[in-house]
């Protein structure tokens, strides 16, 4: 199958959007998993590790919660402003200045509402032996044979251990991730 590469910025956006969909949409998540496991392969009956701590996410509120997160990232880190603007005309120093706003704010928002931990604690580049396959670690490269799998850790992975978004109160339009502002003189 031929796959065209997606530009970095779009991928950034895609990773954001899909990560929430994966969290909240079980069917979408299973499709992504199939993609990860290698599209055409039958799901292999591998011993899967028991689920980690129960996630504090209510799937019913999926889109509202995703919108709320976008509103949070916009408010704290101007995230929507940033991805909505075309970068082409700006110098790296302009982009750098804006990136600081986005990075600092989004980081603050994520850190105060979610606990992000790495999946593996070994240093990236270290050799690693995996006793059995698991969802936690995606195998890439010369994918053949059976466990144990020996390889080099390329990405340590991230897991959201806890997500505590503010409770929505009152009748607010959740699609309004940033209201327009009118300054009265």
């Amino acid at each position: 199958m031929t796959v065209t590469s997606v530009p970095l910025l779009s991928r950034l956006w895609l990773s954001w959007v899909t990560s929430f969909r994966i969290l909240f949409d079980g069917r979408f998540a299973s499709k992504v998993r199939m993609l990860q496991d290698g599209e055409s392969e039958e799901p292999v009956a591998l011993p899967v590790e028991p689920a980690q701590a129960p996630r504090e996410v209510t799937p019913s509120a999926s889109t509202d919660t995703a919108l709320q997160l976008l509103a949070l990232l916009q408010r704290e880190g101007r995230f929507v402003d940033f991805v909505q603007q075309e970068l082409a005309a700006f110098s790296d120093s302009d982009i750098g200045a804006a990136a600081r706003v986005v990075h600092e704010g989004c980081r603050r928002a994520i850190r105060s509402h979610a606990r992000v931990v790495s999946v593996r604690n070994e240093a990236e580049g270290a050799s690693l032996t995996l006793e059995r396959a698991s969802e936690d670690v995606k195998l890439v490269g010369n994918l053949a044979g059976s466990a144990p799998f020996r390889g080099v850790l390329r990405h340590r992975g991230w897991r959201i251990e806890e997500l505590r978004l503010p409770t929505v109160v009152g009748a607010h339009d959740p699609t309004l991730v940033a209201p327009a502002e009118l300054e009265l003189a």
Partner: protein, 610 residues
């Protein structure tokens, strides 16, 4: 009803916090309650700190809904703070500083200053009540969420902290706000003492090996808006170690917010020189950005500068964003040398006489050098020469830090090095640092722990009232044109009165007219520690007595004819809550135990001072 919890509340100038412990178990831990609050329009979250800001909704805004109130037209906490930056005339900040400021009538609706006409202004007392009421609502909601059923703070034992430098009047007003919130089982505790209790709680029994009899602990507490100093002695008490608070400093309106503003000013000026003009919103954003840049520079000595970026206000983030930077040399010059200069022990803070016409405003400290204020405090209470009136002047041997500003190690180091320089110069041993943790939450935690101490768990700091109190009495003399009759000061409450005690005064000749309010001038002294109740001072050193807001007595005409003159005697007592109570007792009572309470701090402070 007997309380299930003891609750410690830190009602701060910029942030409030609540900690609690169960009373039924003997080793219940003290834990911090996360306070549910509006954090942005339509979103509620639990945070350890409740910003002490109150925002009044405009008619264009929908209700500021809380889980327990769908109609609310005001908000307390994080949303109030951030919204206040966008609409500053609709927000009350620093209500606590107004509570201790005698320059306004603190029971009258005067906040927010300069509010638009649609806002019904409220008093500093009511603003404090709203913060406490919010804590009460959050406590109740948390109990319900835990499936523990009802029960609010009126049913719990509440320890509420006040700055050690709060005078009797400001304490009274704090209690008034707490009683309005329904806190019936209430005790006051001084914040530096709470910080020391938190340190004791954190160290467990090991604290006794860190402090020995003869130690004198200097507590330096620098919060967002105020700076407070106290001295607490470790003493031998019936064969074991006891603690005694021996001195407190003046109320200094100077804190972390001033530091952030100073740095914002520096960076703002640099930006202006580059032709980048900032509007009011960007200046407010600049102070926030400088705070986080300052924290980075102070916590990482390898950084030489940190970018300070002000996002554009429009939706186009790129291009409109202004980039400046805060450099290490600026932080050192303006923060370290501006607020914490390494001064000599005899460099006292500058006081600038106020201009004849001033706007109504808080009496901010005119000298930003905290180390100079510390030198002045120690000069009075620890380094005094033998001729001074303060007794038992002895240098501190240990230091405990409190308050968010002092999370920065470089600032703690500067304070301790400056102090130790003074100590060495005087031939005294260097003071050691008592390591504290969690400088934002220590006061609330310590207050809850103190609640346990009152039930016999652990050791109590003794101290009593931090000031001696005097009533001004005009001496009888013939009127001379242009000369005010001299005022004598009658000591009504000696220094160090403990809760639940009464100071008996020798008979005085005081006459009050029934039905007519009588006001007295009122003074406090934190240095005259040996005046007994009843002593009359005809003169005192400059600065020894501080004039407080006037006090007032009204004899109701019940049982007497209006215009009658009644001979009374004054009596001071300290209530179980920890407030000072002044009463006038009839010398020839017509009913049993005829007495009237004297209102503390009802009037504006007189312009002149003693």
């Amino acid at each position: 009803m007997s309380a299930k919890f003891v609750v410690g509340i830190d009602l701060g100038t910029t942030h409030s916090a609540l900690a609690m412990a169960e009373l039924s178990s003997t080793d219940a831990p003290v834990r911090v309650l996360e306070i549910e609050q509006l954090v942005s329009a339509g979103a509620v979250a639990k945070c350890a700190l409740l910003p002490s800001f109150l925002y009044f909704a405009h008619q264009s805004e929908s209700a500021l809904v809380l889980p327990w109130d769908g109609q609310r037209r005001f908000a307390v906490g994080e949303f109030a703070r951030s919204r206040g930056a966008e609409a500053p005339q609709r927000v009350i900040a620093s209500a606590k500083s107004w509570l201790s400021y005698g320059g306004i009538d603190r029971r009258a609706g005067n906040l927010p200053l300069g509010a638009p006409e649609d806002i019904e202004k409220i008093s500093p007392v009511e603003a404090s009540f709203r913060f406490l009421d919010h804590l009460n609502e959050a406590f109740r909601a948390a109990r319900l969420a835990d499936g523990e059923g009802g029960g609010d703070l009126s049913e719990q034992e509440v320890v509420l902290t006040v700055p050690a430098s709060f005078d009797a009047g400001a304490r009274d007003l704090t209690v008034e706000a707490a009683l309005a919130a329904g806190f019936e089982q209430l005790t006051l505790l001084e914040e530096p003492q709470a910080a020391l209790y938190a340190w004791i709680e954190q160290n467990g029994e090991a604290w006794r090996s860190h402090l020995r009899a003869g130690d004198r602990v200097l507590v330096v507490d620098i919060g967002g808006g105020t700076t407070d100093f106290s001295l607490i002695d470790a003493v031998e008490q019936d064969g074991s170690l006891g603690l005694q608070r021996v001195a407190v400093g003046d109320h200094i309106l100077l804190g972390g917010d001033n530091m952030d503003l100073a740095l914002a000013h520096v960076v703002g000026q640099e930006l202006a020189e580059q032709g980048k003009e900032l509007d009011r919103f960007q200046l407010s954003a600049l102070a926030h950005a400088c705070r986080s840049a300052k924290e980075k520079l102070l916590s990482d000595s390898s950084l030489e500068q940190v970018a300070v970026v002000l996002p554009s206000r429009g939706s186009q983030l790129l291009g409109g964003t202004i980039r400046g930077e805060l450099r290490r040399d600026q932080v050192e010059r303006y923060l370290l040398e501006g607020f914490f200069p390494a001064v000599a022990v005899n460099e006292l803070p500058k006081t600038r006489p106020r201009a004849g016409l001033t706007q109504v405003g808080l009496p901010y400290a005119t000298d930003a050098a905290i180390t100079k204020h510390l030198a002045a405090f120690l000069a009075r209470h620890a380094f005094a020469d033998p001729s001074a009136s303060a007794t038992d002047a002895r240098p501190p041997t240990a230091i405990l830090f409190n308050g968010g500003v002092l999370k920065a190690e470089i600032l703690r180091t500067r304070v301790i090095e400056t102090l130790n320089g003074w100590l060495e110069q005087r031939g005294s041993a260097r003071a050691r640092v008592l390591p504290g943790e969690d400088l934002d939450l220590a006061v609330a935690r310590g207050a809850a722990y103190y609640g346990l101490v009152r039930h016999g768990r652990g050791l109590r700091i003794r101290g009593g009232t931090a000031r001696a109190y005097y009533v001004g009495i005009e001496s009888p003399m013939p009127a001379l044109p242009g000369l005010e009759p001299p005022v004598f000061a009658l000591c009504v409450a000696p220094f160090g009165m403990e809760e639940g005690t009464v100071a008996d005064l020798p008979p005085q000749e005081l006459f009050v007219v029934v039905g007519e309010p009588v006001t007295f001038r009122f003074f406090g002294s934190s240095t005259r520690r040996s005046d007994p109740a009843g002593r009359v001072l005809e003169r005192w050193r400059p600065g020894e007595l501080e004039e407080l807001p006037q006090i007032e007595l009204v004899l109701p005409p019940a049982g007497r004819a209006a215009g009658d003159v009644v001979a009374v005697q004054l009596q001071a007592s300290v209530t179980a809550i920890g407030t000072l109570k002044l009463e006038a007792i009839a010398q020839a009572p017509i009913t049993a135990d005829e007495r009237w309470q004297i209102e503390l701090s009802v009037r504006l402070a007189p312009s002149g001072s003693a």
